[in-house]
Symmetry: C2
Subunit: 202 residues, 2 copies
């Protein structure tokens, strides 16, 4: 039991160290010795848990994705509308990118040119935003003439940009609020009481 | 003379090949042998022109920046206002990222985690957008309560996001137009006849 606990802790230390190094240096320049050193773990212990750098990256990516899926699940019940859910989740995703190194690494790996992985976080995020905007359209939340696909592309582009620049501390949550306060009045249908609702829920 | 011309052509072939490989694989995984092979040039000829991969990247970055500066200079005269100039240049920058491999590589190198270069294209772009928005504010083009700094962050984030995602052909100019049509009505002062002007100038 103690042994299992210790193994789980070692594994978690490795995932954290890998996330830190992936997000600082990018995938290509991250080395297994640097990761085991950062985790305070022997090379042998690393290889016991992860067969390769790819295996570590896959674990970081899945953990990041699970965190974001949890974040979505937590907000789904309380969100007053589909548009509302998109706004809340975007905000919280960017907070997670800034504060949780595993989410940040998962996010950055998905746009790292040296990691040509299977469809990563970026694809999932784009599909999710698109799905929510289609739902918003069906439920009459979007202004006339707004294309869910194009607006999804705008939201995804802004999220990717904020996520990438944000790690350098140049972006604060004020910037994300500015994005929504510029975009929402054109996006929401006139009957959708968005401005007030969007601000009071977080 | 013929010799100089041939040298200039070899140099240009190397810059182009480097830009292609940097933007496909990222800086860390790009190798000098792959670049000389792609350029159809011997390893010796590469080393005659560029002492290192870093020297090649610096040349790609400067050429990309010169292209964008030319693009700005070309539009400065005809733009009806500062806000106008920002919209036009953003559009044309994203067209250049999609169609000109040197601009695309310069853009991608500036957010490549494996290239911790001197302040790159991203910094220059952010400073330029901020400067134009401050000018727009001084000239009464911005709506009341709009913060030039925050709006600059939104525009830069969207540009970075579009530029990164766009290389995968998922983003068309329609998406960029969608961004501006969402953002401009909140951004421009009510007396700024933007919507019409923004659409007719390109």
């Amino acid at each position: 039991m103690v042994k299992q606990l210790r193994a789980a802790r070692t594994r978690q230390a490795l995932v954290l160290a890998a996330a830190e190094i992936f997000s600082e240096d990018g995938y290509a320049l991250s080395s297994l010795p640097a990761i085991s050193r950062r985790a305070g773990v022997s090379a042998g212990a690393l290889h016991f848990h992860f067969a390769s750098k790819d295996a570590l990256a896959i674990e970081v990516e899945s953990e990041a994705r699970r965190s974001v899926e949890r974040l979505v699940a937590d907000r789904r019940q309380s969100a007053a509308s589909a548009l509302h859910l998109v706004v809340t989740v975007t905000r919280e995703l960017l907070v997670a990118v800034a504060t949780d190194v595993v989410v940040r690494a998962g996010f950055r790996l998905s746009v790292d040119p040296s990691r040509k992985s299977a469809p990563g976080f970026g694809c999932w995020w784009r599909a999710w935003v698109c799905e929510q905007l289609l739902r918003a359209q069906r439920e009459g939340e979007l202004a006339e003439g707004v294309s869910p696909d194009r607006v999804a592309a705008v939201i995804v582009a802004a999220t990717v940009g904020f996520g990438l620049i944000g790690a350098g501390d140049l972006i604060s949550s004020q910037h994300v609020e500015q994005f929504w306060s510029l975009v929402l009045p054109q996006l929401a249908s006139p009957t959708h009481e968005f401005a007030g609702a969007a601000r009071s829920d977080s």
